[in-house]
Amino acid sequence: MSELLKMTATQARKSLLKREISSVELLNAYQTAMEKTEALNNYVTPTLEVAKEMAIEADKTYAKGNAGLLAGLPIGVKDLFCTKDIETTACSAMLKGFFPPYESTVTSNVWKSGGVMLGKLNCDEFAMGSSNETSIFGPAINPWSKIDGSDLSPGGSSGGSASSVAAGAALMSLGTDTGGSIRQPAAFCGVVGLKPTYGRCSRWGIVAFASSLDQAGPFTRTVEDSALIFSAMAGHDQKDSTSASLETPNFSEAVHSGIEGLRIGIPAEYYLDGMDTDILNLWRKGRAWLEQAGAKVVDISLPHTKYALPCYYIIAPAEASSNLARYDGVKYGKRMEKESLDAMYEATRADGFGEEVQRRILIGTYALSAGYYDAYYLKAQQVRRLIKEDFDKAFNDVDVILTPTTPTAAFPIGAEISDPITMYLNDVFTVPANLAGLPGISVPAGLSKQGLPLGLQLLAASFREDRIFSAASAIEKQAEFSLAPVRAAGDLQ
């Protein structure tokens, strides 16, 4: 059983193609893994009956010889993706009991490629959070533990997606990244998390948080697996006006192409005073690894970096305040029956939204309101352009930028939830890429002194995920990170 769990997606696919294993067998192994790791609270809605049907179908395609790219591979889905006739809650009381009559484009692409749905994964409510603690289902738990055994946060908002892959309870999973919600949990859980270029993956059918920042992406154990599933997820969608009209190249080549002559930039402004020394050392190690692999590493400057976090925390809540206006009790989801329309709105939204969601709606409404729009929202969008220009200039001189993914390793559950600002600081290295629409990946690269995973982040110019995969692969090879969290389902080493 645990042999099956040890395989990466790439290896599993090879095995399936050779008919050495069957999709159903693979599914059974993951089903057991899910049962073993139930305490991690990753899955909010397991879909094992549906998975069984999908696995059987996948096996048929292997028999026929027309198996899709992801045929038979067990995949978990963040509960932010609308899945047809399967409860989709965004981990909020507002959408508890909501069964979409439609399937999101990205998940549709994955199922069309033969992927098998294990279930819907836990996340922060409406994707708002960096610890998976705002979910109505309670936090997902990191399969990595501190020495003292306290429960650690898997990061957020895609906490369940990261944790399940790390724990061997999903071979791959889907998440979304608006300010770091894939990369940060990937770093906390020691897995690979990719945020594609804005526009690569369709946003149609994904519960919207911040429209100009949201992007779907995969969690995997390896960089190679990431390229595999990303190829299936991405592609132009007419139903999404912000979807890029570009062909999705085959990224698998890039994974193995090496980085001889690739130019790497190290941005001075990502060095923070009092930075965690484990992280600083890992960043230096990363630089050395890339040089060893033949890259040219130079120091660069991204002068407006320090404005990225405040900029993000104006723009994202502003867009969210408008995107979440539709949750009003009128058409679907929760409704508190009251005597007047306004009373119904107030009761429904007070009851349906958790504290963090309410906080962000209030911040966003304020930033857009008369008298404040120019000073906050407009100003933030102007600063955003400057941040993007920093990157555009830098990418004239370098191909890839290397930074840490997070300022710390995973923190205990409950440690930061009472201080929103501390929580927001988790995103300091990840938000710039969202603001600039650039692709970014987090690769597990080492362990902290407490034995917790640390990630390194690689960023590239728009639509240059190929460079990211090449550089990430180089880091992966050198880091030789062994994915063995304490609370994994099987022996994943």
Binding site: A208, S241, E319, S321, K331, L368, Y373
Partner: protein, 484 residues
């Protein structure tokens, strides 16, 4: 014509601006593919996007963009090749998204103008400030149930053009002329059907008053007027109300009002405190709307002639009266019918026949021009017979009635009924001789001075000829014989 109003303490000038919401003629909605056709049973034309389901996204309908540009061209307005869609945020049960996608800072069409004609023949230019595209909301029905409101989202997301005039109207008559003219242009272009009862054209009217020469007064806005009559009543009421208020020492409050169709009065809808803060910001789900000159030029080429152009030709080339030109250009179909019917014929006679006989018959039968049993070519055929002397004007009326009833051609009816006019001099001369011989006593009376009897003789000759004698010739010959 003075447009000043007399108050108790002196004269007042009225200032009126209008914001017209015109539903775009299109098969589907502005940002979704569901049907925009009116009249379906509730919630049958609602897509996932219209219902604002989680994860839904808008996609612009190019046809609606074309209609807006075309309308801008018809208003002689500046077409903006770059425009932006903004979200207008507010909560209401018939607004599923909790925001309306509209255009705030960068509308698709800029300044233009509309020429209006008043009943006294004077003309007046009303400036257009801008035109932008936006989504319509759904419908709320509050009268279907004692304690519940019903929401129909069929209309939610249908494309609207909001056409904002400059505050350059100064009387209810001007406002009426403006909305009628605007409606006519939209119908000619085929960009809006202008059906005010169904709600595809509605107006918000801004009214203020001021002493002549002074700065603009505070204005009120009265929303959702769906007939010319209500627009005029609103203006008249508001003007009186505001003048009385100010003259009695009060101040006009800037507010939104509603018109009560039963009382003919306006009342406060919401005050400044309750005014919405719409928190406009560019919709991040949509790219800025851009198109090039080629796009605009293609629309220009396909543009139909507009009423003003056609009227100009009718008056200046065809010699029609301004009044007739107005009647014949009221609808695009009428003008087209006329052009066809009058082509190569006497323009004035054709105009007369259309506006008097044809429209009279249509009105009586309660049908529209489109259902007329007499087509343009047929009418033309009738006029040909009058022009070449085959039938008299009087006979023509009979023929027309027959044409209208049976749909037959004029010539066929004339031939079938043997109605061809007699213009043979000798034949008529013989008839006259008969009549005079039979009525010799009256002849003597006539020659003795009773000139009124001339009509009697004409009547007798016409009777004898069963109405087919050429009247002109009868007159001429009769006079000759009588005055001899």
């Amino acid at each position: 014509m003075s447009t000043l109003v007399s108050g108790r303490t002196g004269e007042w000038e009225i200032v009126i601006g209008m914001e017209v919401h015109a539903q775009v003629v299109s098969n589907s909605k502005l940002f979704s593919g569901s049907s925009a056709i009116f009249g379906a049973s509730p919630n049958n034309h609602v897509s996932l996007v219209d219902a604002a389901m989680p994860g839904m996204l808008p996609v612009i309908n190019a046809q609606c963009v074309k209609q807006a540009v075309l309308t801008g061209l018809g208003l002689n307005a500046k077409i903006n090749k770059f425009s932006v869609f903004d979200r207008k945020n507010y909560f209401y049960a018939d607004l599923p998204q909790g925001y309306q996608i509209s255009q705030f800072k960068h509308p698709i069409v800029g300044e233009g103008e509309v020429q209006i004609e008043l009943s006294d023949g004077s003309t007046h230019k009303v400036g257009i400030e801008r035109l932008h595209l936006e989504q319509d909301a759904g419908k709320s029905l509050h009268d279907q149930h004692p304690s519940k409101s019903y929401i129909d989202l069929n209309r939610s997301g249908v494309a609207l053009m909001e056409i904002v005039s400059k505050p350059e109207m100064h009387s209810a008559d001007q406002a009426a002329a403006y909305i009628k003219k605007l409606r006519s242009i939209l119908r000619y272009l085929g960009t809006c059907d202008g059906n005010m009862e169904e709600g595809s054209l509605r107006a918000d009217v801004n009214v203020s008053v001021r002493r002549p020469g002074e700065a603009l007064g505070t204005r009120t806005e009265t929303k959702n007027l769906n007939s010319v009559k209500f627009i005029m009543q609103t203006i008249e009421f508001e003007v009186q109300r505001q003048i009385e208020l100010i003259e009695n020492g009060g101040e006009v409050v800037q507010e939104t009002r509603l018109f009560d169709t039963t009382t003919g009065m306006t009342r406060t809808m919401r005050g400044k405190e309750d005014a919405h803060d719409y928190r406009y910001f560019p919709d991040p789900d949509l790219l800025p709307l851009t198109f090039d000159d080629a796009f605009i030029d293609e629309l220009k080429i396909g543009m139909p002639e507009l009423p003003d152009e056609i009227k100009f030709r009718m008056v200046n080339e065809y010699g029609l009266s301004s009044y007739d030109a107005n009647v014949l250009t009221e609808e695009r179909e009428t003008a087209a019918f006329y052009e066809l019917a009058s082509e190569g014929r006497d323009r004035k006679i054709t105009a007369n026949w259309m506006s008097v006989e044809l429209f009279g018959a249509l009105n009586k039968a309660g049908i529209e021009l489109a259902q007329s049993p007499v087509g343009p070519n047929q009418l033309g055929g009738l006029i040909d017979l009058i022009s070449d002397g085959s039938i008299s004007g009087k006979i023509a009326k009979e023929v027309f009635s027959e044409m209208f009833e049976t749909g037959k051609d004029a010539k066929l009816i004339v031939d079938e009924k043997g109605l061809k006019q007699v213009s043979d001099e000798s034949a008529i001369s013989a008839m006259i001789d008969d009549v005079l011989a039979t009525n010799s006593d009256k002849v003597n009376e006539y020659r003795g001075g009773k000139e009124k009897l001339f009509g009697f003789f004409v009547g007798q000759v016409m009777k004898a000829s069963k109405g087919q004698a050429n009247p002109g010739m009868v007159n001429k010959l009769l006079k000759q014989k009588l005055d001899f």
